[in-house]
Amino acid sequence: MRKLDEQREVLYVIRTLDVLMSSGVGLEAAIHTIGSGGYGIISEDFSGIMTRLQKGSSRGLGSELKSMMNKAGSEGYRRLLNTMYTNVTQNTDIIETIRKQGARMENERSESVTKYIEELGSVPETLLSIGMIGPIILAIAGLIPQLMSGEMGAFMKLPPTATINIVVNVGLALTLFGMFMIGLKAHTKDPGL
């Protein structure tokens, strides 16, 4: 969930940092602005950094950014934090770097959306295959004790009805689980638009 939130917000954060820092705002003030809200989980992270810095309970902005890098779930956010950390420790040209990062991230986002659409292309077919074939087979299996009762039962020895019912119930539960797992792909692969 955290990864998805980061992916959704990181590009907006980069654009805001770009505008702020191009206008002459310093890195710490920019972190403070973003930390004041509007950028989801990243705002929470930055707000936490600022609170610790103001309390004096941290070893400085550099170490805060470094520890945040370990917490980051998405590659893009980690890269952004790394750029900020490098700027703090080595005084690099952060504006140029984040602009490049923004362009790169935007391309990645376009690619991931296209990939998401392609990958989900097969979900309806797979979901329908499992969701329809399973119940059809299990329905017939569940009806066998009824269909084979009476004279028909003399031709073939059937397992007890209770056993057949358990098999049908377990089969239906497994079908639901299979459908859920296939559907989960729609959540886990979400590009975070």
Partner: protein
């Protein structure tokens, strides 16, 4: 025919879960309509945003102030965004331009517009070159909206397909098999079988709605429709079994 329908509804009296879901489904469907309308309004605003930003960038580049450029755009911009901008700027005579921007962002109820307004406000405060910023923002949001529209267009059909097949097609198909091979009027005892399968179709329908909603990126909105579809699926199965099997 009417007696047949009454008779069919009468048979559901014993199924408490179905009745509860039916009532709950009708009530929550009414709650599902406002998010749909709100989304339609929001997307219409967001799709117009890049053209507004581009025009503002051109006007600022031509030497106009941002406030003047916005006034001009509010008169020519079509749709809800133009109307809201016009309303806000007319109301803002008694307050500051910053307050007007904030009010406009709040009125649109769109996170895209709110983000853009915060950036414009910051850029004005910091005396940053607005033309370049507005032009960059226009391009960014145009690409973002293109992606969002593409996702919507390509996955909407697939989402509907999943729901229709799982929630309607599958219960009717199984009910047809069950009703045809083991008709109740011939003495077949399939009550517990029907309960099990109706519950399965309810759960399968809930999964189908959830997956379809998540594919389109609006899972929470889809939740409003879930009880209704679950009840429909269960009702369709039980009703079709009775109609075919007697």
């Amino acid at each position: 025919m009417i007696f047949m329908i009454y008779g069919l509804i009468e048979t559901f009296n014993e199924n408490l879960l179905l009745l509860v879901l039916l009532v709950f489904g009708i009530a929550s469907a009414a709650g599902g309509v406002p998010p749909m309308l709100e989304r339609k309004r929001r997307r219409s605003i967001e799709n117009t945003l890049p053209s507004l930003l581009e025009s503002l960038s051109d006007s600022v580049g031509a030497g106009r102030g941002i406030q003047e450029a916005m006034m001009e755009q509010s008169r020519t911009l079509p749709g809800v965004l133009g109307q809201l901008l016009k309303e806000t700027l007319e109301e803002s005579h008694s307050s500051s331009f910053d307050a007007a921007l904030a009010a406009f962002a709040a009125k649109t109820r769109s996170s895209q517009v709110q983000r853009v307004m915060v950036l414009i406000e910051t850029a004005i405060e910091q005396d940053a070159p607005l033309q370049g910023i507005l032009s960059d923002l226009a391009m960014d949001y145009e690409r973002l909206n293109d992606l969002m529209n593409k996702r919507e267009e390509e996955l909407l059909g697939k989402g509907i397909l999943i729901v229709l097949f799982i929630s309607i097609g599958l219960p009717v198909l199984i009910a047809f098999i069950v009703g045809l091979f083991t008709p109740a009027n011939k003495g077949f005892q399939i009550d517990s079988f029907n309960v099990t399968f109706s519950l399965f179709f309810g759960a399968a329908s809930a999964i189908a709605i959830g997956v379809s909603g998540r594919m389109l990126g609006r899972f929470k909105d889809a939740l409003w429709w879930m009880p209704g579809w679950v009840a429909l699926s269960m009702g369709l199965y039980l009703g079709a079994v009775i109609m075919i099997g007697g």
